[in-house]
Structures are given as C-alpha cells and as structure tokens.
C-alpha cells in the first residue's frame, strides 16, 4: 500500500471514530423515589406506574400533553354527535402491539369493557362510568355511546388508567407490559430499575432515545450523590431538600421548577362539630398563613391556592384573597360561633414531608387563635382506612394529586363530608358541557363556591422539582398528569 493510501485510510478511520464520538448519546437513566408495585396502569393507583409507562409504553385513544391539553393518540380524530352522547373515534391503521399483534377497534372495545366490568379492578373506574356501550364498527372505527353527555370524556380517555391493552396480554401486563408506544418494556430488576428500549416498529414519530432506565433511588441523601456522580442523569421530580441551592449553582445541571396537579389541603371533616359551622372553617382559613407553610413544608417552592384547582390550568381563578391571613378576624369569627375559648381537635398526618412538616406549622398557626391540635402521625395504609374510608378524623393534610379533580367535592360520601347542592349543580352542568369557554366559566364558579365555603384549608400546589443534566432536552416542566413522557427527550451538545 502506498503511503498516501495509508494516510487516507487512517484519515477516514479517524473521521469515522470522531463522528461516532460526536453522535448524540441515546441512553438516559432517570431516578425516581418509589418503585411501582407492578406495571399495569389499568390496575393500580400508584403514580409510579404511570410515571414509567404512560405515553412511553402504553397509549390511549387520546393523550394529555405537557400543558394538560387533550391530544389525539391512537385515535387520529373523532366526532361527537349533536346530543353529546355518541363519540365516534377514527383509529390509526397499521398499529402493532409490542408482541406483534395488530391493534384495532376490537382492542379498544376490550379495554373499555374490561375497565367498566363488574369485576374490574381499575383504580379510576369512575372514568368509565358514563359509558353505555362500545361498538367496533370496523377495524379502524369505534363508536362509544354514553348514558349522558360528559364534557370531560375525551380528557378521561387520556388518563393512564384508560390506555389501550390487548386481550392477549392484558392478564400479564403487570409483569410484562405490552402496549403500542414508542418504547418497549425490556427488563425489570425488582427493587433496582426498570428498563425500556426503543420500539423500532413504532407507528408514529420514533423516539430519540434508544434506551431509558428508571432507577429506583428512594432516599434523598442517596439521590444527590447519584446525580453528582453522573450515575443518574435526570430526576423528573426530586426530593432535594436543602441541597437545591448547591445544585442550582452547578452549571452541569438544569433545575426546572414546575407545577403538579397536587392540591395540598388541610382536609376538614365538614360534618363533625365544630367544623360543620361555616364560621369555624372561615376562622381556620383566616388563621392560616400559606407563605409560612410553603417556606417550612416545601422549601419555599409551590404556589399558594385559594381553592381546589391547579394554577397551571387555564381555568384557574386566584382566590387566595378570599380569607386573608388575619388572626383578629379569625378570633372574632370563633367568638361568633360561640367558641371564644377555642377548642381542641386532632390532626392526622400521613408519612410525607409536606404533611408532617406542614402539620407542625398549621398546628402552631391555629394555636394562635385558640385551636389546639393534637398531631397524630399515621401510615398511608392507616390514613386510607381511618381518614379516607371511615372518615374518623377532624383534620388532615394531604395532597390530592389526581388531575382536574374538583368534582370530588360533589361525590356523596367523600371523606370531606361536604354537601352543597349548589356545587353539585355546577359539576352536573360541567359534565353536560363540552364547549371550552363555558367549561372554564363553570370551573371558575365551582372554585369560588369551595373557596367561599372554606370546605378545606386550601394551602398550596405541590411543586415539581425537575433536575437533569444540562444537555438533556424534552422532559416536561409541569406534570399535568402523572407521567414522564420520553417521546421528545434527547441529548444535545
């Protein structure tokens, strides 16, 4: 070989290896604090399930986008009958499940019928309650008949609990999830990590990442070294505590503070004396200083709320001024209620930092107006049975993380024990309305009623503290739904 040929070959080789080195990274390790109990979004309420699988592995008829909007997914379009009771979905053709089986209208019918069946264990069975019948008209057309018009139906179909599953794999999705999304499930090392790989046969726009690993890092003290050492490159929602300024000042990382759908409230048992008196609830609202609670329970992050609605939603109305922090006013209201000497009550707190820390602050704030709270820490399982199911409580602190869940106040027998026909009427009307502007207006009315009634102490919206490598792009800023949508995530230089 002549020298110049050797040189050319060497140059080509160098160029090749250089281009390989410059090719963008295509793998990502994400850290999350809780491991999902299983991997079937249609059979459990654990947020961690959706945070791994939603939009990545499983898709629904519709999907919720980064700002909470309803986008087409497996249904490319739909029409709604004039009476609002029949939805006809046009499905994408040529879609395959990860096991190779074909997706068609029968799978949609199977999924919806399974979710609303008598033996269904869907955690959000209520989403499907309005469905009367599902008909597979042809392989790419599904007709859903509703018992009554439901304005939120398309939104409901975008929940993780409404993703489409195949009859062949529905029973085994808990261990080996089979969906239609841009990522396939690869491996679950129990207690450690769940790995997804790119689906080469995806029907839509392919993902940029070849491989994504969700690593379980339960402890905040362990999460920081994992981030600093580069083992984990993204924490979509990190419990970072006091280390936030240290990370914010480090140029290797991006810190993105967004909103969740978690309304943190001082849940109040509205039927239990003296909380059944509006004046007492108003007094509590006046006694609460939201800023102090946010500073102490959420590192100063999080937006104050005056009703049960997310500030990130476009229908949000700022009602934080309804009952401003005013101790004299609170005392006066208690006096009017015949409780000038104050009273004692219990505050049951679940094992999360915002509740345990926030509870101390709320208790000290209420003590200033003469309300003595006995703090009772409880475990989650205990909270669910004592507070939520048996309604055996006075006050509690909890974040309601389901998206758009203001309608829980219209549910009979819900643990707030709140009952207001005027509010129920608004929600009923909301259910029958699909026009966006009208819906926003009704949402505004609903928020106002709850704020005026001081149903609960409305505290703050939980923040989403996203921290990731500065070279990673495409992760969501807010979490309008519990998800870590990786479809647009990529490494940039």
């Amino acid at each position: 070989m002549k020298p110049w040929k050797t040189f050319a070959a060497a140059a080509t080789l160098t160029a090749l290896s250089a281009s390989a080195a410059f090719a963008a990274r295509a793998d990502l390790v994400l850290g999350m604090p809780l491991e999902p109990p299983h991997l079937d979004p249609t059979a459990g309420a654990a947020a961690a399930i959706d945070e791994i699988l939603y939009a990545n592995v499983f898709e629904g008829l519709t999907r919720i986008g980064p700002s909470g909007e309803v986008l087409p997914a497996l249904a490319e379009s739909w029409t709604v009958s004039d009476d609002g009771k029949t939805y006809t979905f046009k499905l994408h053709g040529n879609v395959k499940f990860h096991d190779g089986s074909t997706f068609d209208a029968e799978d949609v019918k199977f999924t919806l019928d399974r979710a609303r069946a008598a033996d269904s264990t869907n955690a959000q069975k209520g989403l499907f309650a309005a469905i009367d019948a599902v008909e597979a008209v042809d392989p790419t057309t599904v007709k859903v008949a509703l018992k009554n018009p439901q304005g939120s139906f398309l939104y409901n179909m975008g929940w993780g609990d409404a993703v489409i599953v195949a009859p062949e794999s529905a029973a085994t999705n808990k261990e080996k999830p089979v969906g239609t999304g841009p990522f396939r499930f690869d491996n679950w090392a129990k207690g450690s990590a769940i790995t997804l790989v790119k689906n080469p046969d995806y029907w839509g726009e392919p993902a940029s990442l070849d491989r994504a690993e969700f690593r379980i890092v339960p402890d905040a003290a362990a999460a920081i070294p994992a981030l600093l050492s580069g083992d984990v490159q993204a924490f979509p929602n990190m419990n970072v505590g006091d280390a936030l300024p240290q990370i914010q000042s480090d140029p290797r990382f991006k810190v993105v503070i967004g909103a969740t759908e978690g309304e943190t409230v001082l849940s109040t048992n509205n039927k239990k004396p003296p909380f059944d008196q509006l004046k007492v609830r108003q007094a509590i609202a006046h006694a609460i200083d939201r800023k102090a609670i946010i500073d102490g329970a959420s590192s100063g992050l999080g937006t104050p709320i005056g009703s049960h609605f997310s500030p990130a939603n476009k229908a949000y109305v700022d009602l934080t001024g309804t009952y401003p922090h005013d101790i004299a006013k609170a005392k006066a209201l208690l006096k009017e209620a015949g409780l000038e000497n104050g009273f004692s009550a219990t505050l049951k707190l679940p094992p999360v930092a915002y509740a345990r820390d926030g509870g101390q602050i709320v208790a000290s704030q209420l003590r200033e107006v003469g309300i003595n709270l006995e703090i009772i820490p409880v475990e989650w399982a205990d909270w669910l049975s004592q507070v939520f199911t048996e309604k055996n409580y006075d006050l509690s602190i909890v974040s309601h993380t389901e998206p758009n869940d203001i309608d829980i106040y219209a549910r009979k027998d819900y643990y707030f024990n709140y009952d207001n026909p005027a509010f129920d009427k608004v929600i009923e009307e909301l259910n029958l309305t699909s026009d966006d502007a009208k819906r926003s207006e009704l949402y505004g009315q609903a928020q106002k009623i709850l704020a005026d009634d001081a149903v609960n102490g409305f505290l703050f919206e939980l923040p989403k503290i996203g921290i990731w490598d500065a070279k990673v792009e495409g992760l969501w800023e807010n979490s309008p739904i519990q998800a870590n949508d990786l479809t647009k995530v990529k490494w940039v230089d």
């Binding site: 299983h38 309420a45 339960p218 669910l384």
Partner: protein
C-alpha cells in the same frame, strides 16, 4: 452429643412454630386495607371489593393461617399482593444481593477484627492497645449511614471509582456487581469489626490469664505462638457467638445501608412490603429470617462442640 443435638433441634422447631403464630397475629392487627392502598383514593368501593376477593382477603383467619403454614412447608410462600409474583421469587432476587453482601462484610469484619484484637491483647495497657481500642471505640460510635455517605463522596463522586449506589444485577457480570457491593460492604463491616475487635481482645486477655498459658510460656514457647495457637482457640467461643449474631444482623438489619446505596436487598423488601401492606411478603420474609437466625444459632452451637471438645462428651 446426640441428646444435645436433638434438644437443640426441637428448640429450633418450636421457635419457628411460635414465630409463625406471632408473625401472623401481629400482621392481622395491623390497620389498613391492602386492596384500598393499591387502588388509591379515587377507586370505587366495588373495585376495591373485587380486588379483596382476588387477593383472597375475604376468607376467615384460621383458614388463612393454616393455608399459609401448609404452603410454607411445601416451600410455597404465596403470591405477593402488590407484585403478584411468588414471594419465593422476590426473596430469591433479594437474597442474591443480601447474602453476598452479608458474607463479604462478615469476612471483612473478621479479617480486620481478629488481628486488631490480638494486637491489642498482646500490647495490653501499652500505647498500641490504646490506639487500637480507641479506633474501635470510634468505629462503634460512628453511625454507619454517615460513614457510608463519606465513602460515597470520596469514592463515587470525587474519585469516580465505583458507582454511588444501585445494583446492576449479577447478570451484568461478576465484577460490576462486586463493585456495587464494595462500598456498602465496607460501611457495614467497619462497625461490626470494631465490636468484634473489642470482644476478641477481652476474650484473649481473659484466656491469657489461664494457668496453661503460663505453662506454655514456661516451657519456652514464644508469646506470639502462645497467643495465636493456644489463647485464640480458647477465646473462640465468645467470638463465634458474636459472629453468629452479626451474620443475622447483616442479612436483615441493613435497611439503612440499603437505602443509602439503594440496593435491592431483603431489608428494603420488608420495609416496602410493610408500607404497602403486602402482608404475605412480610410474613414470608420474616419467617425466612427467623429460620435463618435459628439455623445460624444451631450452627454456632455445633461449632462450639467442634471448637471445645469438652462439649462433645456432654
């Protein structure tokens, strides 16, 4: 000897039986409904009821107890409520982390403790003894999670020699898996070594006061040989007792270290299972641990007989 063994064995079986009753009873009174916990606050009551039925939570208690014990006798520990896989599979995955970790820590602990203890005993009352025992005192006093964090910052964040935590699994290769266990093993071993070193020292010092040691010295054996060959062997019984206890602790009591290094070990499995009310997993794992402790104690009792020939004639 046979009577001694038979007696030990009967005690072990009785312990297991009592433990099974206690474990079952305690978990029965634990408040909280596993089905409700899994489905969350938005679930409809009929969905919760359907899940309770599926999980077999609706049968009477004595029936469930007997089913459970009968299952365990045939090595069937039931299916996890939350993971819906056999408990034994879950445990097998976790043992693959916890057992090697416990063994490595134990070996490290013994390898550090015996020379240090012997060194201190040999120089009793002198500067070397003070330094060694001072170091052991510090080792006992340092909280192991704090020590673990120091190790992480030094070896993982700063030097980047080992990962900061996590476990790649043995399928990723022996070396990466061992690398992941390196820091946790050190963090676990050091406090244990400190305790064992102190026990070794005091046991040796006691033995060194015996008549036969004086005899051995008088017949001209050098002190080192007396210490390693005669004294250490006779000091083994208290040391074996401690090592047996430490092994049981290292297998199950490492939850803090498992959290700091986010290792998928047994400790974390139990902790998770308790918070998720995955009672069948808690029951199974606790029973396995009880069994392990019983077996380890049995082995320790046996090893006394090997170490001390006088026990064999009893």
């Amino acid at each position: 000897m046979t009577a001694y063994l038979a007696q030990r064995f009967l005690i072990a079986v009785a312990t297991l039986l009592v433990a099974s009753l206690v474990v079952f009873a305690v978990l029965e009174v634990l408040p909280g409904d596993p089905a409700r916990l899994m489905l969350g606050i938005n679930a409809t009551p009929d969905a919760v009821e359907a899940l309770r039925e599926q999980m077999g939570l609706n049968s009477p208690r004595p029936v469930r107890y007997l089913d459970w014990v009968a299952g365990m006798l045939s090595l069937d520990f039931g299916r996890s409520y939350t993971y819906s896989v056999p408990v034994i599979d879950l445990v097998a995955e976790r043992i693959a982390v916890s057992l090697p970790l416990a063994l490595i820590s134990l070996v490290l602990s013994v390898a550090i403790a015996i020379p240090v203890g012997a060194f201190a005993a040999q120089r009793r009352g002198r500067a070397g003894d003070a330094v060694a025992m001072g170091a052991a005192q510090v080792g006992v006093a340092i909280p192991n999670f704090w020590f673990a964090l120091l190790l992480i910052y030094l070896f993982a964040v700063w030097l980047r020699l080992v990962p900061a935590g996590g476990f790649p699994g043995w399928s990723a290769g022996v070396w990466p898996a061992l690398k992941a266990l390196f820091l946790p093993a050190i963090a676990l071993a050091l406090p244990q070594a400190a305790i064992l070193a102190r026990v070794t020292r005091s046991a040796l010092i006691e033995t060194l006061g015996e008549d036969y040691i004086r005899t051995a010295r008088a017949k001209g054996l050098p002190f080192g040989a007396v210490l390693w060959r005669h004294a250490l062997r006779n000091a083994l019984i208290p040391m074996l007792t401690i090592i047996g206890l430490q092994f049981s602790f290292l297998l199950a009591g490492t939850i803090i270290i498992e959290n700091v290094f986010y290792l998928p070990g047994l400790g974390r499995l139990i902790f998770q299972a308790i918070t998720q009310r995955d009672l069948i997993v808690v029951e199974g794992v606790v029973m396995l641990l009880v069994a392990t402790v019983v077996v380890v104690n049995l082995l320790v009792d046996l090893s006394y007989a090997i170490v001390d020939p006088r026990l064999r004639t009893r």
